[in-house]
């Protein structure tokens, strides 16, 4: 489904701030795999997702989705294959536009935008049904500006928008990190439900190791722009947080034990 082959990315090349973000990264995802991605700060998790989404061009390597080479396609062209939810709840929705309008924008992801009316009556019913799934009462507020919603509501809406048209690949970049624990749990449950029901292929970056073990059917750990640990199936289910920490200490020589990781 997704092939990432020998991908390199260095930021600020040739300057004092040079940062090797991805170093010959290889990753293959099969259809329906739900992969959690963990790693310390600067390990390249977000960079990996951004490279797949086309936010920045890659330096070397190949990225394919369903056999289509997207390595040099611009971000907006890759959008037809990819649904995304960002860490910042503000980034995934247009605050000054109505809930309905936001959904209508998402409903046209990957399609051609024409001079036809932006929201049709038929769609409205669809949106109402979809919003009910969120269980937040948003179906009664379809004409409210998204800016009036809370961070959690916005993130739930973004998740719905990203999957409104079934994406070949769903990219979740620490999408619950900016939410309070309770809201984060709700959004995570919703994520799980949507991915399961549509059997989506997904990559989810998280800082929470318990979530990384509990969710999905495969886990990868990144360090210094490489995947250092890749585990799936039964073996993954048997994992404990302590195993992951040990694994990381081994790879990084102890520097991984930052407080954010331990607390989660």
């Amino acid at each position: 489904m997704l092939t990432v082959n020998h991908v390199y990315k260095t930021f600020n090349k040739g300057t004092i701030n040079e940062k090797k973000a991805l170093c010959g990264l290889n990753l293959r995802l099969e259809q329906g795999e739900f992969v959690t991605v963990i790693g310390g700060n600067g390990a390249g998790k977000s960079t990996l997702l951004n490279m797949i989404a086309g936010v920045y061009p890659i330096d070397n390597g190949l990225i394919e989705i369903d056999g289509v080479n997207i390595s040099r396609k611009p971000e907006h062209r890759r959008a037809q294959y990819i649904g995304r939810v960002f860490q910042d709840p503000m980034r995934g929705t247009a605050a000054g536009m109505e809930i309905e309008e936001n959904l209508a924008l998402a409903y046209r992801r990957g399609g051609k935008r024409t001079l036809r009316w932006g929201v049709t009556k038929k769609e409205r019913e669809l949106y109402r049904e979809k919003l009910k799934i969120l269980n937040l009462g948003l179906e009664e507020r379809m004409h409210s500006k998204v800016g009036l919603l809370s961070g959690g509501q916005r993130q739930a809406l973004t998740l719905l928008m990203a999957t409104l048209i079934e994406p070949k690949l769903l990219l979740l970049d620490e999408h619950t990190a900016a939410l309070d624990p309770k809201t984060a749990r709700t959004v995570l449950e919703l994520t799980e439900k949507i991915i399961r029901e549509k059997s989506l292929t997904a990559l989810m970056v998280t800082h929470n190791m318990k979530d990384a073990i509990r969710l999905g059917n495969r886990l990868i750990m990144m360090h210094e722009g490489r995947i250092i640990y890749d585990v799936a199936g039964e073996e993954k289910k048997q994992l404990h947080v302590s195993d992951l920490l040990a694994k990381f200490e081994e790879a990084s020589g102890g520097e991984f034990a930052n407080d954010r990781m331990i607390l989660s």
Binding site: R91, A94, R116
Partner: protein
């Protein structure tokens, strides 16, 4: 007293014709969230193109307006390309086009101003047919065109492309992730915007019966002032159509204020300072009030939650 009334009547029709320029500024400033300084140049460009075509080439004045619109669109597209293809900040891209247009406009006209005294304009034609006063005709035609454009913009920004345009101004990251080429939407918005500005320049040129190299100077400030005044007067109206109408209304009010202060004996050259002060105040006051409120609301006491 009749002098003031006459001046006010003229100001209203002038305000409506300039109001079309304000609609253009509204697209970039309010919808796209860009202050596009091309406007000063593209407004004069519209006027110059219109004048030279009508006077020198004997072109039909209505057709000349369309060419003026096209010329404005090209100017907007130049700014758009500088901004989107070469990542030049929008303000700088606008300034570059604006400065360049000064020379272009002089080249087009061959001199610094052209009178349209002996030729037909769309206004003089109707005056000839109906035998009514020129100022009344400019007002009616101005309102008619403004209404048509507001209807057009209302439709455009309701379409799929228009929604993508609004989303570009609202959250660029998001709409790109949803598959919209934001370079194209910005380019399109700048092109349409400056098309309207060029049209307005052409209309003003035909109405005042001359084109002048300096006619666009400060147009962007007038545009911003008009939008701000419109918001103050009609800020409670939330629908898109009424926001557009309030921008045009704001422009009429701007020209009324101008007519009054000129009648009161203010030097016409001081008007630009007054416009700048109006815009600056309108932008400063909400910020100052907000800061003052925060300052005021502080107390050492324990609040009751």
């Amino acid at each position: 007293m009749s002098g003031i009334l006459l001046a006010m009547q003229g100001a209203v029709s002038q305000g409506v014709l300039w109001g079309i320029m304000v609609l253009g500024v509204y697209i970039t400033y309010k919808i796209l969230d860009i202050a596009d300084l091309t406007v000063d140049g593209s407004f004069a460009l519209g006027g110059c193109v219109c004048a030279i075509l009508v006077v020198e080439k004997g072109m039909d004045p209505l057709l000349a307006l369309m060419v003026a619109t096209l010329a404005g669109m090209v100017a907007g597209a130049v700014t758009g390309m500088l901004h989107t293809l070469f990542d030049i900040p929008a303000i700088l891209a606008g300034i570059l086009t604006q400065i360049g247009l000064w020379s272009v406009n002089l080249r087009i006209m061959g001199k610094s101003n052209i009178p349209l005294l002996k030729v037909d304009t769309i206004f003089s034609r109707i005056v000839d047919i109906l035998g009514v006063k020129q100022s009344a005709v400019s007002l009616v035609i101005g309102i008619l065109i403004a209404v048509l454009i507001i209807v057009f913009l209302y439709w455009l920004f309701g379409t799929e492309i228009g929604s993508a345009l609004r989303a570009t101004g609202n959250n660029e990251d998001m709409i790109r992730a949803l598959g919209v080429n934001t370079k194209m939407t910005k380019l399109l918005a700048l092109t349409i915007s400056n098309g309207l500005v060029g049209l307005s320049g052409g209309l003003v040129c035909q109405s005042q019966k001359y084109a002048d190299i300096g006619m666009g100077t400060g147009a962007i400030v007038i545009g911003l002032a008009a939008i701000v005044i419109g918001e103050v007067l009609m800020g409670r109206l939330k629908s898109f159509g009424s926001k557009l109408s309030s921008a045009v209304t704001g422009c009429v009010v701007y020209f009324l204020i101008r007519a009054i202060v000129l009648q009161l004996g203010m030097d016409a050259n001081d008007m630009k300072l007054l416009s700048a002060v109006i815009v600056a105040l309108a932008l400063c006051i909400p910020v100052a009030i907000g800061k003052w409120r925060i300052w005021k609301s502080y107390s050492e006491e324990d609040p009751t939650c």
